[in-house]
């Protein structure tokens, strides 16, 4: 009984970690902030759920379709806003507006069953599925970050002008980074829908986006392990302490303020957990 409970908390944490991993590509490694990534989770959740619920599409295929749809939707907001080179706070707000608009739309479409939400989605997601997806995601994301495109993202985070002078295509790289982050958020959404077997537009609000951002910032910009640890802690700690949902949000809010005021680079700012155990992150990570 208690094992089941622990397993379910860990599974939910794992699902959340995949989304946080996605956002950390965009925020931690490309240096752009978003207050609307919950929208991409919603797209992934609804797309995959509608596919398995109404059209009996196989689960794996539905997950892929959900991720792809999230990636495609990210272009809708990404192309105009990134092309316009908005100031960074306006960009975060534009995505916020997009997220809210999308949520209002979900509340009013017939196929999503409106604000009442979709109940009775098959619960295909097992703890093993989540573990597998998380592991694959971590590998893919870290490979991406070591690739030509990852190097371009990091260069943009460090200095957009110098990055362009190093031959980086600013708009394309930022758009790609947004798309990659949206794809992983979409995957997380698909897994979530088929784990909880019920989704509702109100699950994908601004508060949700703020929580994702809080995990990335708290965990540390430019780190993969930091945000993963933070997002796990964000889910697991309140469960272990049996804290009510609203007090969790009180704590997230406070945490966000405290981090901005005292430690904007986050817990693991620009480092990986492995670097704490004496193994210095050196140039070795590039070739071997």
């Amino acid at each position: 009984m208690i094992m089941d409970y622990i397993l379910s908390v860990a599974t939910l944490a794992g699902i959340n970690m995949i989304a946080v991993l996605g956002l950390s590509v965009f925020t931690g490694f490309t240096g752009l902030f978003s207050l609307g990534h919950a929208a991409f989770i919603a797209v992934g959740a609804y797309t995959s759920a509608v596919l398995t619920y109404y059209y009996y599409v196989p689960f794996a295929l539905a997950l892929v379709a959900g991720s792809a749809m999230a990636g495609a939707v990210s272009l809708v907001i990404g192309i105009p806003t990134l092309r316009a080179k908005l100031r960074s706070d306006y960009f975060a707000i534009a995505i916020l507006g997009f997220g809210e608009a999308l949520r209002v739309l979900l509340e009013n479409l017939t196929i999503t069953n409106g604000a009442r939400g979709l109940p009775g989605i098959d619960s295909f997601t097992t703890p093993f599925t989540v573990l597998f997806c998380l592991a694959v995601s971590v590998v893919l994301v870290s490979n991406f970050l070591r690739s030509r495109w990852g190097a371009a993202c990091i260069a943009i985070r460090e200095d957009p002008i110098a990055a362009e002078m190093a031959g980086v295509r600013l708009f394309r790289t930022r758009l790609l980074s947004l798309m990659v982050s949206a794809v992983f958020c979409g995957l997380s959404g698909g897994l979530m829908a088929h784990y909880l077997s019920f989704i509702q537009p109100v699950m994908f609000t601004l508060t949700q986006s703020t929580q994702l951002l809080a995990a990335v910032i708290a965990g540390g910009m430019g780190s993969i392990s930091g945000p993963l640890i933070a997002s796990f802690a964000f889910i697991a700690l309140p469960e272990a302490l049996r804290v009510a949902q609203m007090w969790r949000l009180v704590a997230y809010g406070l945490l966000l303020v405290l981090i901005m005021v005292y430690r904007p680079q986050g817990l693991m700012g620009y480092r990986e957990i492995t670097s704490l155990f004496g193994k210095r992150r050196d140039d070795g990570r590039r070739e071997r």
Binding site: N143, F144, R148, W149, A151, A166, Y270, R286
Partner: protein, 267 residues
């Protein structure tokens, strides 16, 4: 490059910021293989010229040609691919990355990679990255930075940061290298060594160099020709001796040639 084209030229280049004309109908050209210097009093618009040439700003009017091709108004990364690289007056490195990563970034951008191959990290993709890392290391070695390959860029001493910025620019494979006050903040001894280094870079990498500098002895020693700017416009152009004896130049500097050199020692 077909015969008859100048290697690099700006013609009628003009840039307005609001009501202020920062660059005014500027014309000059650069010979292939030369080390051309741009000098002029503070606020003469020298760095603005670099920003126009590299696409950071769009020209209000005028044309920029590299090897016969118009490049004015292109995006910065497109201009880099055409063969122009630069360094910055106030160093702009990828601060939290290692020296090798700083150099790897431009190297990686020059090649076509398969996205799927990179993300799956296929043996082929790994091999290519290894080769690139070796090239990055040898580039670092060419300016004596190899021992610092794994050190974070912003922890390097100032002089080495300047060098690293030059290596990063060279890694884009430029035909024309723009150096914006490479000797800023250096003492006379360091400046002398920098002059040797610049000459050496031209030979070894077969690049043409255009540089902005306040250290008069550096400019007078290694640059030919020298372009003199004042109030955004061309004041004079010629060999060091011609420039030195030009009455307009003397008037512009108001006989402060020596003094402005001293002042520039503080950057």
């Amino acid at each position: 490059m077909s015969a008859g084209h100048t290697f690099f030229s700006v013609t009628g280049l003009t840039k307005d910021f609001g009501g202020i004309r920062a660059v005014d109908d500027l014309c000059f050209s650069v010979e292939k293989g030369s080390i051309t210097g741009i000098i002029g009093p503070n606020g003469a618009g020298k760095t603005t010229v670099f920003n126009l040439v590299t696409g950071v700003y769009r020209p209000t009017s005028g044309a920029i040609h590299l090897m016969g091709e118009p490049i004015g108004g292109l995006r910065p990364d497109a201009i880099v691919r055409k063969g122009i690289a630069r360094t910055f007056q106030n160093i702009r490195l990828f601060n939290r990355q290692s020296c090798l990563e700083n150099v790897m970034t431009p190297l990686l951008q020059r090649e076509r990679h398969s996205f799927v191959g990179s993300v799956l990290r296929t043996p082929g993709a790994r091999r290519r990255q290894r080769d690139l890392a070796d090239r990055g290391r040898s580039l670092l070695a060419s300016l004596g930075l190899e021992p610092f390959a794994s050190q974070q860029a912003n922890t390097l001493p100032y002089g080495l940061q300047r060098k690293l910025e030059i290596v990063r620019a060279l890694a884009t494979g430029p035909e024309l290298l723009l150096l914006d006050e490479p000797a800023a903040g250096m003492n006379p001894e360091e400046t002398k060594r920098l002059a040797e280094l610049i000459a050496e870079i031209r030979e070894r990498f077969d690049v043409t160099i255009l540089l902005i500098e306040h250290h008069m002895d550096l400019v007078m020693n290694i640059c030919e020709p020298i372009v003199v700017m004042n109030f955004g416009a061309l004041l004079a152009c010629g060999t060091p001796d011609e420039v030195r004896s030009n009455p307009d130049v003397i008037a512009a500097y108001l006989g402060k040639g020596k003094k402005s050199h001293d002042a520039s020692a503080q950057g």
